[in-house]
Point group: C2
Chain length 426, copies 2
């Protein structure tokens, strides 16, 4: 019969692929722990209503939906924030604030296939709930930088670009963009780095409604600093908020990693204040991470008013960045030790293998009775660091030959000391 | 608006729930590494055909199926083995044997809700491909015992019950059960411990076709040892195979954990040889784990003939067992250290928090400017082990007060030594 393939846009993770995924996830967990975040998770599918209640996003058209055998409309989760907001709303006042949660969800979006985009992918999500102050935004931005540097990426590799929906709204209103067109302008702005300049130009005119407003808007959007952006409207209150945040980030030691960028707006409709995205310095890839404030989402799901800020980082773009920089992990040994059976009878090999395992040393032996040479090939294929020769000359002596495959060095050691010897050499 | 709930049969994992899940997963990964297995994963949904090709199982009626936006029929994975077989088949000869793989898949079955069963759950899967010899069965059974004992369960808590489809087939044929009824008898036998004795009795007569055969079968099924089971047909070859396996398991030191049980058959149709299940000693819960040989599955997916043996252990029953025994982990500190800001200005608290984080010590501070007493409450809620008082008397001295929350002991230390001091005390 024909061999079936994995569904389009999904990945098979053979051990060599899994090594990179585990490297990223383990690093993510270490960062989260160090920054004081606790892990949570939610079901992989949710009631469809969880995603349709907050309407308007592109994400809704990309849902994997299905009807379960009980006739309920469900969707595979395309993002984690709605589940987080639902869970926070369900706990109500019992939830001690601030909430500092992270999760590593598997997510699904039926998207057009392109570089850095898959239909099934993973994210790190970090969120702080219950704090309206800019300290929460700053703490999360520090955490996203920590996440990147923990993976070996440096300030010359990436930037956190920061803006604010409040600032954009205040500036756009100051040049005459009507309130009802703000959403459309945000959507256009979010495409700035994703489409050609002339396409962006046309989208901008379309979204603001006329070319005079578009020209004034273009001037604001060409600002390279916060001061330039507010040059013609220096009294917008959101500018002061952003300055507070940037000052705070200086105290965090983040000056080399972050900067203001008026082109950052985020695609999702639920953002309310500070927004930020992480890009590689060459800007050759999609955003590695993005986030911001979403102060109204928990209430939308029936919870109390809860100020909130969070970010998500995807595994696909991050993996590409690590590969480009050549900082991906080597495939580790499948077992530290391979026990070669010199004799036909495997009993001694079994006993030594199990002795090592019981002492905490990872070990395997040849499950098939084959010649010593073939067993050594298996040891190589399993990338074992040590080989133990069970039986042969040493049979019955309580001693075995141990070979360090890195140096080729051999020694004879008591079986009773084998695990300790390997532990010391490793 | 109304608060939405998680879909029926799924779980929200708040941090306190996640602690147990992480405890189990981390222990699983340690066991697998020690026994020489490498991690892999596959997509969370697969082409529906992957599950319908091998027909006949109850599992097929429990599938969560959907049609994607491209019109393809898909299903959420209800078990991992078909994905494993598909991936092995796809690699063909490039896959070095033996394959020793594990995975921790999230799985979905639309089942009737009952104790120890959920519609969304996790499993540990361990598999060895490419070895027809009983050593592979033994190595896997040793690994399932290792998985249980690594979690703190002992030989008085659980047993691995072992039988063989070959043995059952040979014995059943010897008492006149026709070949075409074997499948039905296996299905009945799999229900032995799941239904009342009189129901089982009736099912047995129905499945073999008449009460004479049923009586002979009943006698075989009442055997408590392998010798008793084969008393009337001592020359069945599968009995020798089972003896070889049980002897091998003695060499592994597994005598106290394993025993023959003629009532074990497994529900899935694809098993071909040795089958086994792990039960708590009181038999108060469903099987914790189950597995066996499936030598024909990889070929069914278009691969070369590949002998294979594997097992799966579920997180739900295992979690109940750990809870019953009282060996579940305590919730760890969210942060090791809480930095209290004695002054209004948080700058010093930010700097010390970040200094600790950069030195590898997990830390947080109060993101809201509240009184010291309220900050200490936050430190308690975050279960922090240490509190650092930033500012106040020590302001400008380069020294801070450090309090160990376990003993209540306080000391004053240089900020420069803070991370080291905490590391030593922790």
């Amino acid at each position: 019969m024909a061999v079936l393939s994995a569904p389009k846009g999904t990945r098979d993770f053979y051990p060599e692929d899994m090594a990179l995924r585990r490297h990223i996830f383990c690093s993510w967990r270490r960062t989260c722990r160090r920054y004081g975040f606790e892990e949570f998770d939610a079901p992989l599918f949710e009631h469809l209503e969880l995603y349709t209640r907050k309407s308007g996003d592109e994400i809704e058209r990309q849902l994997y939906t299905f009807t379960d055998k009980g006739g309920r409309d469900m969707a595979l989760r395309p993002e984690m924030t709605p589940s987080l907001a639902r869970m926070a709303a369900a706990k109500g006042q019992a939830l001690k604030r601030p909430v500092r949660w992270f999760s590593i969800p598997r997510l699904f979006r039926y998207e057009k296939m392109q570089r850095g985009r898959l239909r099934e992918f993973f994210q790190l999500n970090m969120d702080i709930l219950g704090v309206a102050e800019k300290t929460a935004d700053a703490d999360l931005i520090a955490a996203v930088v920590g996440m990147m540097t923990d993976l070996g990426l440096e300030s010359q590799d990436f930037s956190v670009l920061i803006s604010s929906r409040d600032l954009l709204e205040q500036l756009f209103r100051s040049v005459g963009v009507p309130a009802e067109r703000l959403g459309a302008v945000y959507q256009t702005l979010d495409k700035k780095y994703k489409v050609a300049p002339e396409v962006f130009e046309k989208m901008l005119v379309d979204s603001v409604g006329d070319s005079v407003r578009a020209a004034r808007l273009r001037k604001i959007l060409s600002a390279e600093t916060l001061d330039q952006a507010v040059a013609e409207a220096p009294d917008v209150p959101a500018a002061e908020d952003l300055r507070t945040l940037l000052d705070l980030l200086d105290s965090y030691g983040m000056r080399d990693y972050v900067r203001f960028d008026i082109g950052i707006v985020r695609g999702l409709a639920y953002y309310t204040g500070i927004v930020f995205e992480v890009f590689d310095k060459q800007r050759s890839l999609r955003a590695v991470a993005g986030g911001g404030r979403y102060d109204r989402l928990v209430a939308l799901y029936g919870g109390a008013d809860t100020p909130a800020v969070g970010f998500a980082a995807g595994d696909v773009v991050l993996g590409e960045l690590l590969k480009n920089k050549g900082i991906v992990p080597l495939l580790e040994p499948r077992s530290t030790t391979f026990v070669v059976s010199v004799d036909k009878d495997v009993t001694l090999a079994v006993e030594i293998t199990q002795l090592l395992r019981n002492a905490g040393v990872s070990a395997e032996y040849s499950l098939r009775q084959v010649a010593v040479g073939k067993q050594l090939k298996q040891a190589n294929a399993a990338r074992c660091t040590f080989v133990v020769f069970a039986g042969g000359e040493e049979e019955g002596s309580g001693r075995v030959k141990l070979k360090d495959m890195r140096s080729g060095e051999e020694r004879v050691t008591d079986v009773a000391n084998l695990a300790r010897t390997i532990g010391e050499l490793e």
